[in-house]
Symmetry: C2
Subunit: 187 residues, 2 copies
């Protein structure tokens, strides 16, 4: 039921907006009482925080699984992480967009659980770049923090424009990103 | 006065949110009457649309000035466009973020003026990449549309994380982006 409430809310927040969607709207949609909602969540704010917490926790787990694989080099790790992020769009674009839009509505207390996870994801990427420089795979031309933000910008921006049912296939998008990140534009 | 209303609203929308800010709040902040507001704007929705229209129109003008310069190659055009976008953050981050967050509140009628400008900006970038491939400056490894979105992702994402008063100077950020976009990570 908890998951059902979260999934239904993602749809409603996406369609009507967070502020405009009431707890009553959510429970009406599922056909349960407000009591059921408050059994799982103390507030709409907590629900919003949980939606994003699950999203970030999930991709952080997948990222760390890739990073902890001792059998692949930095280039291959980067390749796999970009693919994790790109393939996640189909399932999580709505909840990611809601997070970026409604972050203001999340209390300090709830943000305090989410922000370290987001920070960790970005720092892991920075470390991957730094390691790749140290082991001679990557150029040392730009600050690793700037590079980590640039890579995240490419993948995160997809959540705003990319339509997995459109003309660009997920595989082509992910492979194009990796190619561009590794080789750049210049001949 | 029109500009003053727009600037004040950007601050208020950023602080309190678009839905939560009333026309009364805006005119109170400036010390004028609602009549003054409605002399310039038919609604808060129109005001929000105008804020973004001015932003996108301004960077589109600057982009086209660079693209129409016959004396520089594709690499140099890309360099200058990335710098236009990065240097704009200090002045426009707040209004860009508000746009992304509140887009849902902009009517079809107003979006119809903004969307073609946004589309044009992205298409111009795609054409720059295509031209650079045709003249032999850029590799033909990835679809130009994917590349244009990737480049926009890097710069647009800065509007969400970059703090011009923080440790990374604007010049270092813009030059780092250009270096990465042109050369990629791999040695």
């Amino acid at each position: 039921m908890k998951d059902k409430i979260m999934q239904t809310s993602i749809q409603l927040f996406g369609k009507k907006g967070f502020t405009e969607t009431s707890v009553q709207d959510i429970v009406n949609e599922i056909g349960v009482t407000k009591g059921t909602f408050y059994y799982y969540f103390t507030s709409k704010d907590e629900l919003l925080a949980m939606i994003h917490y699950e999203f970030i926790n999930n991709i952080l787990d997948k990222q760390e699984e890739v990073l902890n694989n001792p059998n692949i080099d930095s280039k291959e790790k980067l390749d796999q992480i970009v693919k994790v992020l790109t393939y996640e769009i189909k399932h999580s674009a709505q909840s990611a967009r809601i997070f970026f839009r409604e972050m203001r509505h999340i209390s300090e207390e709830h943000l305090a659980k989410i922000s370290p996870k987001r920070h960790q994801f970005r720092k892991n990427l920075e470390k991957l770049v730094t390691d790749g420089m140290a082991n001679g795979e990557f150029q040392e031309h730009v600050r690793p923090d700037i590079l980590s933000y640039a890579i995240l910008g490419i993948t995160n921006w997809s959540y705003f424009w990319y339509d997995p049912s459109g003309p660009i296939k997920e595989k082509e998008l992910a492979e194009g990103y990796v190619e561009f990140i590794l080789k750049g534009l210049l001949k």
